[in-house]
């Protein structure tokens, strides 16, 4: 497989570094080269930074694309680990390609930074890369420790597949790719009607009650599952937060997809930071034959601040 530039994102690199470790572990095991670049900022946030100052949002995103393209502008693709980064970088790329006025303004800004506007690379989510370049059937051949006996629910998250004209991945209203990738690991997938519905995290800033009620509705819908699988650290944060705040909810451990894939590829839970979860996954890990993960834990605050 060809080289991809890794965009780690600020929520993952600064709050969920275990997800980054899991993604790097997976890439290594699957023979995918991830190239690091120095100097990225926040993608930035597709909801509130864009909602406040679209001009700043586009400049920062364009600068990240330029950093990714590198000196020779020869990068093939920029790989995001988060639905939000995927959306921002992809939407910005689309705007820079289609809106001449904004492209000229942004190009001038980049020149003032000694950089060149680059729109030739592709933006991909790592889930998309795995799905499109390997696919579920091929993935199965790499597993050393399948997740047999587990029933998992999936939450693909809005911005993995929407807006569909920009994401260009999976069915935006009835997403299936993540289900197939989870099934490939040996788990059973629980179907539920609100699978494509939003986790509610974006409006945590402006209407906390609404935000949490959207998340709670989803947790109740998947109460029968052993875990809820996400592809985005913001959704992960939201689903853990609502369970921390509302003790009446059923307990459903939340997993970032690449944590599970890393486990199935032979990772040790401690090596990918699974002990950092606020909703403990120990029961699920025990069923997979892993000893209690907290032995590797780092004590101290676990970032209970929900946003």
């Amino acid at each position: 497989m060809s080289a991809h530039v890794l965009y780690p994102g600020c929520l993952i690199s600064r709050r969920y570094p275990g997800f980054e470790a899991a993604a790097r572990f997976v890439a290594k095991k699957l023979g995918m080269e991830l190239v690091d670049r120095e100097g990225f900022t926040c993608c930035p946030d597709p909801v509130w930074l864009r909602s406040a100052r679209q001009d700043l949002w586009l400049r920062m995103a364009a600068r990240n694309l330029a950093v990714a393209a590198g000196q020779n502008g020869d990068a093939g693709s920029l790989v995001a680990l988060c639905n939000g980064c995927f959306e921002t970088l992809n939407t910005a790329l689309h705007l820079l390609k289609t809106d001449q006025k904004q492209r000229e303004q942004v190009a001038r800004f980049l020149e003032s930074q000694g950089q060149t506007l680059s729109t030739c690379l592709q933006v991909k989510h790592l889930v998309q890369v795995v799905y499109e370049t390997l696919g579920p059937e091929e993935l199965k051949k790499h597993l050393v420790r399948p997740l047999e006996g587990l029933t998992l629910a999936t939450h693909p998250g809005c911005h993995l597949t929407r807006p569909s004209d920009i994401a260009r991945f999976d069915d935006p209203l009835n997403p299936r790719a993540l289900d197939e990738l989870v099934e490939a690991l040996g788990a059973r997938v629980l179907d539920y009607p609100t699978k494509s519905q939003c986790c509610g995290l974006p409006v945590f800033v402006t209407d906390r009650e609404l935000s949490l009620s959207l998340a709670a509705e989803k947790i109740r819908a998947v109460a029968q599952a052993d875990g809820l699988v996400v592809t985005c650290p913001s959704c992960f944060q939201q689903f853990e937060t609502v369970q921390m705040l509302d003790r009446s909810l059923p307990r459903v451990p939340v997993f970032y997809y690449f944590e599970l894939l890393a486990l199935a590829l032979g990772a040790d839970p401690g090596e990918i930071g699974l002990d950092q979860h606020r909703i403990k996954a120990d029961a699920v890990l025990a069923r997979l034959g892993h000893a209690k993960s907290s032995a590797h834990g780092v004590s101290g605050a676990r970032g209970t601040k929900p946003n």
Partner: protein
């Protein structure tokens, strides 16, 4: 709720949002039917109503809570028969509100945070320690130069 039409605001919306295709909206309400927030309660957010308020020039659309309750989930955008991009409209209206100093405090704070450190989330000592234990490269880099320019653009 009494609806007050403000011709000046209507002109402003037409001018600033002229690249958006919301005039294609024929008020069918399919967006509302697909909206998870509308489903919790129609009072919380009705995208069809927001489009109408913006189109006829009701200034309160900027300050009333519904505009700030859209999660940008794009369910409505996928289903609109007229290919109206409601999220683009929300973003443009929120930018207008921000410019007029009418955005909620939390939104203003996020912009300040990003312009200060380049990221929404700080890099704490604990996270540096976890990154090291997991064998990850350091997450910090010197961004002061670009942040300085962005602050100038912002002001």
């Amino acid at each position: 709720m009494a609806v007050r039409i403000d011709p000046e605001f209507r002109r402003l919306v037409r001018e600033r949002l002229r690249d958006l295709d919301f005039n294609q909206c024929y008020q069918c309400g399919k967006c509302a039917a697909s909206c998870p927030v509308f489903h919790r309660s129609p009072e919380l957010l009705n995208p069809r109503k927001i489009i109408h308020m913006a189109a006829i020039g009701v200034r309160e659309v900027l300050t009333q809570p519904p505009l700030w309750r859209c999660t940008t989930c794009y369910e409505c955008v996928e289903q609109c028969p007229q290919t109206v991009n409601f999220v683009d409209l929300v973003v443009a209206l929120r930018n207008l509100a921000y410019e007029m100093g009418m955005a909620p405090r939390g939104v203003q704070e996020e912009v300040e945070t990003v312009l200060k450190q380049g990221f929404v989330y700080p890099l704490t000592g604990r996270i540096r320690q976890v990154r090291q234990r997991l064998g990850l490269p350091p997450a910090a880099s010197d961004l002061e130069g670009v942040l300085q320019t962005l602050r100038e653009v912002a002001s």
